[in-house]
């Protein structure tokens, strides 16, 4: 057959196939459906034959390409052929539909490459112009939208990016599938969305339950595992897309499939599908894909350019300066990530310090280079650099430079020269920008060495190729430089799984001094080798060493595997396996960087280490330091011996003991650091300061809690002295008259002695009841002052120190913390719904009603109980408070006894002392009653209410909804018990406390700790400004602390914020003449400022007035009368107070106090 006839025959054959296909399609009634069915039922060979015919036919072309270059977003992704076929058919269908447009695709790829270069170099105007060109030639594309979003975000920020995206999304015709993808593009571009966060959101929002989700994940930048079926369905979705996107996504799906499934069938399908485009489209992505399928059609001479090999050879020969120079030279011509990497590796390995080639200051290449340098040199801040690079790379999943970057980062974690590459590594190796020798190792699992590697191995003079060949083929080939043989043998042994041999070789090489870079690289390999041989201590020793040198290098170690092996050995009873110091360090590193799931074993390791050293306390470790590297001992002290580990030592039996030990440990670590010539880090000094402050605050709180029951007896004494003296003299006169009425002269003398004047005595024979009345009056006056003086008495102090907010907050606190109780709504007076628990479960309407009822009843029971305690029981017993537990009522018999006890005392002061003794005894008895009431009544009632609530909830709610809530009712019980114990402890006679002089911040922090414990749903942020030189007199501590407590309490209660942040700024400044206390707090935005302004005016007008003082013994309200009492009567100071609203809408209290006597 002649050439012409053969051509005619082929044409006829194709035409017949086309006619047959057309007949099949039109028979289906609907051509779209018909096309889908045809794609499904025909053979791939038939598709290859017929597709050109389809594309030549105007009608069928419109079906295959609904809009190849859409002019508006409305038509992007419209129409398309529904239904999917086999992988083979789908690949052939898509590739064949692209085939006639190979020239356009090549043109697009060239423009895209220019765009990438311009973007990396920060030439944003050029980027705009290129995007316009691409838009003009190829219409609206997903690639164009994605590139624009990323460009605008990088150049103009989020608002501009959002504006652009909203404009795109506002086009109603945009296919919903791709509309959704664009929303991910915009989210991903946001500066604050890290790669990890993006992946988490994508995995939650797009679980891999469909081919669509797989495609979306790929498009967003993740690398899901994808099988043949999923790939074929994903490919079928591409028939909606325009030319450029169909090509890019078809290639991406194929690469992801090959990375996931290296089977011969998949390789054959991919190779057969893509072959026709290989020689027509200038894209190394297709060539590499085909090489991965063991098909070498396109010559790969352009791979691994001469200069790249030369740079790698120089590196292999340890001529790092030359390697760097070649790489930098490459880089200045073309901003490639691989050249950058080679240069940076040479710089780090050779310990060189060379500037990067000049790039524009705002070019993204500058930040990539800076971060990659951190990563490659194992800098301390490399982990943050990795996060930034990951973010950059994942944002550009269609850019080959981004794949290069991701591959470099992945290799840093998993060296594919010695371990099988991950799916992600293979995927990005297939998409990477430049051809690098290292790809040889990455593509080995695909069997690509048959053709891909040959290109490199055919360069016999290259030392780097010789090294790679030796490693992959496990024999030392010629051209491996002598200086590299040792390392090559290590890599060979590791790759072949000869870990014993690798360990020995690594130990030998590490015995000689190495650069930091080599030490870290080889150390990483030694940890792996020792772990594989079961030498866990050896692996931990090297790991601990690396942790000390570079935390980042340590994050790349197989720490989890090591930890798992150590735990298994310990569980198997291998004695002492956790005892080495290095093991504690490794556990700690794992806990801080990977997971907290082995924290218990971290504490075991800590305890085992101390036991192995015969030490009780870690702070005793100093004498042992010579046995361990000092940096490891310092690490151990600083990081392992932290409170959450120390508290698991049975030698430390309290929080206080743990804190003391931590403080000692820090001092020890500091000493060791100083001995090695390093200063103590400021965070350690700060930690000690905070520990000490915490302890002082806790102790002060305890002291103050136990001095709440207080009577200012000196104040009372002064107040009543004159009155009682007079009364006592008169009483004594009666007494004398009664005892020696016959001796008037003697009586006269005695009176003269007492009052200094001589009186004439007239006997009028006063009745005995008068003497009793006089004595009773004095007793009752003193008792009244003791119990009820608004300035000095017990009731005023009970009100100020206990009843005013303290009891209710302390007893309600545990319920508030567990969200079991709500407040009443101001308007309705009804308890608010418990939104916390309502939000956490689905209730039916009847369940919700019953739930609300049960919770409101519980809140009411608790509040009623507290109300009864404060309003009925914690009162001075009187007609108005018949249940008051502070009983100072004096019966006739008691009065007679008092007369008998006191009547012989001549001095009225002794009488007053006796009375105070008696009243303290009565107080003590009352306090016993209060404590008993709290334990036997209040606590019991609350526990009963809890049980009733739990019982109701179990009946009302299904178990799944009730579970967490019931748990809360159980968890609260010990907290309630503690709260009740604490409140009971307040009801004890105050011990004579000897308070040390103190800095004002102690009072501030003590008050803050108390109020924070009451308002657990508020996040109270504080700032304190106190003059360093101020030292307050110890005796003032309780009063100043109470002053701050009332101010904090006011801030927390009246700020208008129920849950969330409350900012408080406080200060104490002044000199020996005047002290100024100030406290300002933020207010809810919903606060009625007009109303507040009225309150401010009222407070300023009324503060300290007589009418206000009536409220000292009354709870509720602002607490300002109590502040007045504290300042005026407890601290005895002249003062002035002013409240105001600041310009920034904060509530401000300023108090000026006469400093006399307040300062130490």
């Amino acid at each position: 057959m002649t050439k012409g006839r053969r051509k005619q025959a082929v044409k006829t054959l194709q035409s017949q196939a086309f006619v047959k296909a057309r007949a099949y399609i039109t028979k289906r009634g609907n051509v779209m459906r018909g096309m889908g069915l045809y794609k499904h039922t025909s053979s791939s060979a038939e598709i290859r034959r017929v597709m050109p015919e389809f594309l030549r036919n105007r009608v069928y072309h419109a079906l295959v390409w609904p809009d190849m270059t859409p002019r508006t977003y409305n038509t992007l992704g419209k129409h398309g052929i529904w239904g999917h076929s086999s992988l083979e058919n789908e690949l052939n269908w898509q590739v064949q539909s692209l085939l006639p447009y190979h020239a356009e695709l090549t043109a697009f790829l060239a423009l895209r490459a220019r765009f990438s270069t311009a973007f990396l170099l920060g030439r944003y105007q050029e980027c705009d112009s290129l995007l316009e060109d691409i838009n003009e030639a190829f219409g609206k594309t997903l690639w164009g939208i994605e590139a624009s979003i990323n460009l605008i975000q990088a150049r103009d920020g989020f608002s501009a990016q959002k504006e652009f995206t909203n404009k795109v999304l506002s086009h109603k015709g945009l296919n919903p599938m791709w509309h959704y993808l664009v929303t991910w593009f915009t989210f991903r571009a946001e500066r604050n969305v890290s790669a990890t966060e993006l992946a988490r959101h994508v995995e939650n929002g797009l679980p891999l339950t469909s081919a669509y989700a797989h495609l979306m994940q790929l498009a967003i930048g993740l690398c899901p595992s994808i099988n043949e079926h999923t790939a074929s369905v994903a490919l079928s979705y591409l028939s909606h897309l325009p030319l450029v996107d169909r090509y890019l996504y078809a290639l991406m799906i194929s690469q992801a499939l090959l990375a996931s499934d290296h089977s011969a069938a998949v390789k054959t399908h991919i190779a057969e599908g893509w072959k026709p485009l290989d020689t027509r489209v200038a894209d190394s992505g297709i060539t590499k894909l085909l090489l991965g399928c063991n098909y070498s059609g396109n010559p790969i001479s352009s791979f691994c350019t001469g200069s790249t090999v030369a740079a790698l050879d120089a590196y292999a020969e340890h001529d790092y300066g030359r390697a760097l120079s070649i790489a930098w030279s490459d880089l200045s011509r073309n901003p490639g990530i691989d050249a950058l990497q080679i240069g940076l590796r040479a710089e780090s390995a050779g310990d060189l310090n060379v500037s990067l080639p000049e790039f524009p200051a705002d070019a993204i290449m500058v930040s990539i280079a800076a971060d990659l340098r951190r990563v490659i040199s194992y800098a301390d801040d490399a982990s943050e650099a990795v996060r930034r690079l990951d973010k950059t790379a994942i944002t550009w999943p269609q850019a080959s430079w981004a794949s290069s970057l991701r591959l470099i980062l992945a290799r840093q974690r998993r060296d594919d020269r010695v371990a099988s590459p991950s799916r992600l590594q293979i995927y990005h190796a297939l998409r990477t920008e430049d051809e690098n020798l290292n790809l040889a190792a990455t593509l080995v699992p695909l069997g690509a060495n048959e053709c891909y590697l040959e290109t490199f191995f055919n360069q016999p003079s290259s030392s780097s190729v010789a090294i790679m060949r030796s490693v992959i083929e496990d024999n030392v080939s010629a051209n491996v430089p002598a200086t590299s043989i040792a390392r090559v043998n290590i890599l060979r042994a590791l790759r072949a799984g000869r870990h014993d041999e690798a360990s020995i070789r690594l130990e030998t090489i590490l015995a000689a001094p190495q650069t930091r870079h080599a030490q870290l690289e080889l150390g990483r390999q030694l940890v792996t080798a020792r772990l594989q041989t079961g030498d866990l201590k050896g692996a931990a020793d090297v790991a601990a060493e690396l942790i000390s040198v570079s935390r980042f290098a340590a994050t790349l170690l197989p720490i989890k595997e090591l930890i798992d092996a150590l735990v298994s050995a310990d569980l198997a009873g291998e004695r002492g396996v956790l005892a080495p110091l290095s093991v504690s360090i490794v556990f700690d590193f794992y806990s801080r960087n990977i997971s907290s799931d082995r924290d218990a074993e971290r504490a075991d390791a800590f305890n085992d280490f101390l036991n192995s050293q015969n030490l009780v306390y870690a702070s005793d470790l100093d004498g042992e330091t010579s046995r361990y590297p000092s940096d490891q001992v310092i690490y151990f002290l600083r990081n392992v011996c932290v409170p959450e580990v120390l508290d698991q030592s049975l030698n430390l039996a309290s929080t206080r003991a743990v804190e003391d030990e931590r403080a000692k440990v820090i001092v020890k670590a500091s000493d060791l650091l100083n001995r090695t010539g390093k200063p103590t880090p400021s965070e350690l000094l700060e930690e000690v300061r905070e520990l000490k402050l915490k302890q002082v605050v806790r102790e002060t709180t305890l002291q103050l809690d136990q001095s709440k029951v207080y009577v200012n007896v000196e104040g009372i004494r002064k107040a009543i002295d004159g009155q009682i003296r007079e009364g006592w003299h008169r009483f004594r006169l009666f007494k004398l008259h009664e005892g020696s009425i016959s001796n008037l002269d003697e009586l006269s003398k005695k009176i003269q002695e007492m009052v200094g004047e001589r009186y004439q005595i007239i006997i009028s024979s006063a009745p005995a009841t008068e003497k009793y009345r006089m004595f009773s009056k004095m007793v009752l006056d003193i008792t009244d002052q003791f119990a009820s003086s608004r300035e000095f008495g017990l009731d005023a102090n009970l009100s100020t120190n206990i009843r005013h907010g303290f009891i209710i907050r302390a007893l309600r606190g545990p319920f508030v913390a567990r969200n079991l109780i709500t407040n009443k709504a101001t308007a309705s007076g009804e308890y608010q719904e418990n939104e916390y628990w309502l939000e956490r479960a689905d209730y039916s309407s009847s369940q919700e009603a019953q739930f609300n009822q049960a919770m409101a009843r519980f809140s009411s029971e608790i509040d009623d109980e507290i109300e009864a305690l404060t309003r009925r029981y914690l009162r001075i017993r009187a007609d108005t408070a018949p249940d008051g537990l502070f009983d100072f009522q004096i019966t006739d018999i008691v009065m007679q006894l008092l007369i008998q006890r006191c009547q012989d005392e001549e001095d009225h002061e002794v009488f007053i002392d006796r009375m105070f003794e008696y009243l303290w005894a009565r107080t003590e008895k009352s306090l016993e009653h209060v404590r008993a009431h709290l334990s036997h009544h209040t606590l019991a009632m609350m526990q009963n209410s809890l049980s009733a609530l739990a019982s109701s909830l179990e009946q009302i709610l299904p178990p799944a909804n009730a579970s967490a809530l019931i748990a809360a009712t159980n968890l609260v019980r010990p907290d309630l018990q503690s709260a009740a114990d604490k409140v009971a402890s307040w009801f004890a006679l105050s011990l004579t406390q000897d308070y040390q002089n103190y800095a004002p911040q102690i009072a501030f922090d003590t008050a803050l700790a108390t109020v924070k414990s009451y308002y657990s749903r508020l996040v109270i942020e504080t700032e304190f400004d106190g003059a360093d030189s101020l030292l307050m007199a110890g005796r003032t501590l309780p009063h100043v602390t109470r002053l701050f407590t009332i101010l904090f309490e006011n801030a927390a209660y009246h700020c208008g914020v129920n849950e969330g942040e409350l900012k408080i700024k406080a200060g104490v400044v002044g000199d020996s003449a005047t002290l100024k206390f100030s406290l300002s707090n933020s207010l809810s935005e919903e606060k009625d400022m007009t109303e507040l302004a009225k309150v401010v005016g009222k407070l300023n007008a009324e503060f300290g007035r007589d009418a206000q003082q009536e409220f000292i013994r009354v709870e509720g309200g602002s607490g300002y009368p109590k502040i007045w009492k504290l300042l005026r009567h407890d601290l005895h100071q002249d003062h002035a107070l002013e409240v105001s609203i600041t310009d920034s809408n904060e509530f401000l209290v300023e108090i000026a106090v006469d400093a006399k006597g307040l300062l130490a």
Binding site: D647, S654, E954, S963, A967, S978
Partner: protein
């Protein structure tokens, strides 16, 4: 019979001790109210039985001691330490909860029971105290019977 009751809830502690005294009259009941005091007790004394709460603070609470860190799985930690130290005293977990931990370490009671059975040979079982059901006495009695009958009769 020497029994350790580890429980931080005073009310529950009283209930379980009273129940034990009434029913078995053990020669000695030791109580512990935290993870630390429980661990100290098991390392310092030998017990025939341990009644163990699952959720406890690190230290015994007092007025001066707030208890340190709360441990949602204090009971499991006690069992783990017993296993490490080769202490094989039978342990009955006595809890009011049907769920433990939060978020990443969240575990239901059933999952926890499975975990304890799988990992600790001296774990006997769990008795749950519920607010509206009063059958824990029977459950606890049966469980103790099953473990100690022979030993006590001796």
């Amino acid at each position: 019979m020497n029994v350790l009751v580890a429980e931080d809830d005073e009310d529950k502690l009283e209930q379980s001790c009273a129940f034990l005294s009434r029913w078995r009259s053990p020669s000695n009941i030791v109580s512990a109210k935290s993870l630390q005091s429980t661990l100290r007790a098991i390392t310092e004394q030998t017990f025939d039985l341990i009644i163990l709460d699952m959720t406890m603070p690190t230290f015994d609470r007092t007025l001066a001691e707030e208890g340190g860190r709360p441990h949602a799985f204090a009971g499991r930690e006690v069992l783990r330490q017993m296993r490490r130290r080769g202490i094989e005293t039978p342990v009955i977990v006595f809890t009011s909860f049907d769920r433990f931990g939060e978020e990443s370490d969240y575990t239901t009671l059933d999952q926890l029971k499975t975990d304890l059975h799988a990992n600790f040979s001296n774990y006997v079982g769990t008795v749950q105290l519920k607010a509206n059901v009063d059958d824990w006495h029977e459950s606890l009695k049966e469980m103790i019977d099953a473990v100690l009958e022979g030993k006590i009769n001796d």
